[in-house]
Each structure stands twice: as structure tokens, then as C-alpha cells.
Amino acid sequence: MGFSVSGATVIVFIGILVSAAAFYPAIDRFTERRSDAIDAREERSLDRQNTAVSVSSATATGTPSTLTVTVENDGASTLAVSRVTLLVDGEYVTPDDTTVEGDATTDVWASGETLTLTVEDTTGSRVKVVTGPGVATTAEVG
């Protein structure tokens, strides 16, 4: 009788060990994925809080008119030029030319620098510039 109980106990104990060995890595992966995702979200949130932009000028010149929008990075975040969205009168427009402090090849729009967006053959009365983190600014075309 005593031997039966011991044998059964050993088998159940081995079962518990095998289950724990399967369960622990799953919990570990779950918490790691979740905490990585939360870290990334907090990073995005911090970037958003550190982002501030303002339109210095928006002018339409010439015939057909060329729209030139200059935007100042007033925040502390470094932004990506390729992730900037320009809306003219509420409609999405792809700029013909984008320069940061005169450099047309860079994608880095650092704090304190001015981004110039140029759109050919466009008329509009209102522009909206949206940065990568989603922070936006609007201005009337003067």
C-alpha cells in the first residue's frame, strides 16, 4: 500500500514538473512581449510630448503658383522628413521638394531646424503639416 502511494506520488510530481517546465517559458514570453510593447508605446508617447512644430510661413508665388511652406521644429525630438504629411486645403499632397536648412537629401529634421516643403502648380488657402508622431500644425496661405 505504502509503495503504491509513493509510486503514484512520484508520477504526479513528475507531471507537475513537466507542466511547470512548459508553462514558465510561456508566461515569460508573454510578459516580455507585453513589456516590450508597453516600452515602445511609452517611447512614442515621450516623442509626441517632445514634438512641437509651427508654420513660419506659407506662401504661393508665381503663375502657375508654387506653394512654399516653411515649418520650424520647435520641440526637442528629431523628426523624419519622410514621415511628414502635407495637406493643402485638406487634401493630401506629395511635396515636389523637401529641404532641411537647404539640404534636399537629408531625412533628419532636428530640433531648431527649418523644413521647407515646395509644391508646384498648386493653389490653396490653407495648409496642415503633420509630423511622424502625429503632432500637427495648420496655417493660412499668405
Binding site: S19, A22, F30, T85, L87, R126, T138
Partner: protein, 158 residues
Amino acid sequence: MASESVTTLIIFIAAVSVAAGVSGAMVTSVGGIAGSLDDRGADVAKQIGTDVEIVSDPGSEALSRDHPADGDTDGTDDVVLLVKNVGDRTLLASTDGVEVLLDGRYVPPESYTVETVDGGTWDSGTVARVVVDKTLGTGDHRATIIVGSERETLRFAL
């Protein structure tokens, strides 16, 4: 004496069999739970990494307009929303990945289209255009875009 040994053997075999059954069931169940937990972890990470922003300019007239340039030929005004992916992952730019509510009412998938403005994938930082085949009257309106568990609402007046 011999019959006692047989009885003990039978009890031993029975005890070991029951224990093995219990252990087996436990290992199988825990394996299933571990698999579900893995899937759930991936889903939670996806949900947290999903973030969109309606970037349409409510101060312009472009939210409700006819747009023949995009192949719309019915001649009536549609609601046009621009939605930017500001999260970490690439989203599905189709009616399967995006749901729309207009003034709190569900819009069925056959009544709207979703496509990226550059025709590519809806990567982080890019914009998708949601066109709802519905003409709104003058007054205040509310448009809600739902992507996964992420929900964004834009209030505007026409």
C-alpha cells in the same frame, strides 16, 4: 500470503495508472494553456503597437466632397478621411482592417473604401484615405475610425 501479494500488485498498478492519467491530463491542459498564452501575448503586443490618428483638416472643405480624380463617378459628395499610421507596425489598408462609424452609426464594408494615398502598404508614418459613400447634411458630425482595438474620433462641422 500469495493472494495478499496479488492484491498489493493490483492496487499498485491501479494507483500508478490513475496517477499517470492525472499527470497526462495535467500536462496536456497546461500545454494548451501555454499555447493560448503565447497567442494572447502576440495579440496584446499587436494591440499596444497599433496607433492611428485622423489627420484630416476639419477647417477645410475636403472632409465632405466629390472627388472624381480618385475614380468616383456618382457625382455626390462623399466623406473623405485621411488616417495616419503613427504606431509601430504595418496595418491592413482594407475594409477588413478598418471599421468606420459615422455619427455613431456603423457603416457596412460595402459603403466605404480604404487605400493608402501612395498605393503602397500602410506602413508606420504613411497615410490611408478612407472614402465613405455617404452624403452628410449641414451641421455637426462625428467620424470614428477603428483599427484593431485602437479608436480615433474626429468631430467636424459642415
